[in-house]
Assembly symmetry: C2
Homo-oligomer: 199 residues x 2
């Protein structure tokens, strides 16, 4: 008798299928952004019809949101397992994420468009983004505080302000980069990190 609590049977299959669709969706959005034809392209890649695809998510909007959630998860995995050594600061983590994003303009566009739309309190993604910013602010603030404690981050400045600035820099530069792809986002975040270093 097994004590495992892993999902089994049809339910487990549903979860696997959902993950498979999300991987295909991430590929499609990374390659071409969000187009009128995106759903058909994703459905083709996983051998489903569009209604068959949406069955797993409820709506096109929920699928887009699930794609961004999946991207956040992969990004966190990538940061901790990419073998490039330990990340020593919140700022360095953002530089890596931004470098990674520069290969995926379609996903950056999706993020920018959805986060902008989600500023409306009744938008279906509002709670997701509000929670995401709250969480990221807390984590980044903790990173800044430990940097201040160990002498690498400039002291005498509000660590929550530093955290919110880092997130704003990352979001704002993505818009500038989408407008002009010659903008070197990673180098500019590195300059920001230098401003935050203790002298």
């Amino acid at each position: 008798m097994s004590t495992q609590r892993k999902p089994r049977g049809p339910y487990r299959k549903g979860i696997q299928r959902r993950a498979q669709i999300l991987d295909a969706a991430l590929e499609v959005f990374a390659e071409q952004g969000d187009r009128g034809s995106s759903l058909q392209e994703i459905a083709d890649r996983v051998g489903l019809s569009i209604p068959g695809l949406l069955h797993y998510f409820g709506s096109r909007e929920e699928l887009l949101l699930a794609v961004l959630e999946r991207r956040d998860t992969l990004e966190t995995d990538h940061l901790t397992t990419d073998g490039e050594g330990k990340i020593t600061s919140a700022g360095e983590a953002v530089v890596r994420t931004i470098r990674h994003n520069m290969d995926q303009p379609g996903l950056v566009k999706l993020f920018v468009a959805l986060s902008a739309a989600a500023t409306e309190p009744d938008h279906h993604a509002h709670a997701f983004f509000a929670d995401r910013y709250r969480r990221l602010t807390e984590t980044t603030k903790a990173g800044m505080e430990s940097g201040q404690a160990n002498g690498t981050t400039r002291t005498g400045v509000n660590p929550e302000h530093l955290a919110r600035l880092l997130l704003a820099v990352s979001d704002g530069l993505q818009v500038q980069w989408l407008m002009d792809p010659t903008v070197d986002m990673a180098a500019i975040v590195e300059t920001f990190n230098r401003l935050c270093e203790s002298e």
Copy 2:
């Protein structure tokens, strides 16, 4: 005989009417953001029908863009004529603009939504925003360079990076503030300005 080149007659009246509509549109968007009912509300305030209103702009989209252009112009006037004394740095100008924006969430939303949509190269507002970022980057970079020359801004850092960071901070914080109105954008930009000061 007059040598004046000011527009006269019907043409001049058209320009005045257009400006009057834009003022009404700015009020409506500042008060309530962009809603399904916004055009009707603007039309009512200037005593026109919706088609009569759009006659002056061509489309709803062009009207939204004209509103943001008008806001940029008013903002520049406000910065130079508000009687609060001379602005001494690009960073200080952004703090004042952000303070002003905190009274107009509807216009901030309009800006965030339109700039996000305009990242698509074939969007009708793409050229406007691409040009706006280019122009603002140049002006802000010049401000940073003169700060470095007169000893108020930190040297040894790329002035274009500082300029792009300041613009990114301003854009990114607006999204955070729309998600959570307790975020004190102006105070956080002031912290950024401190990071840019020479020691």
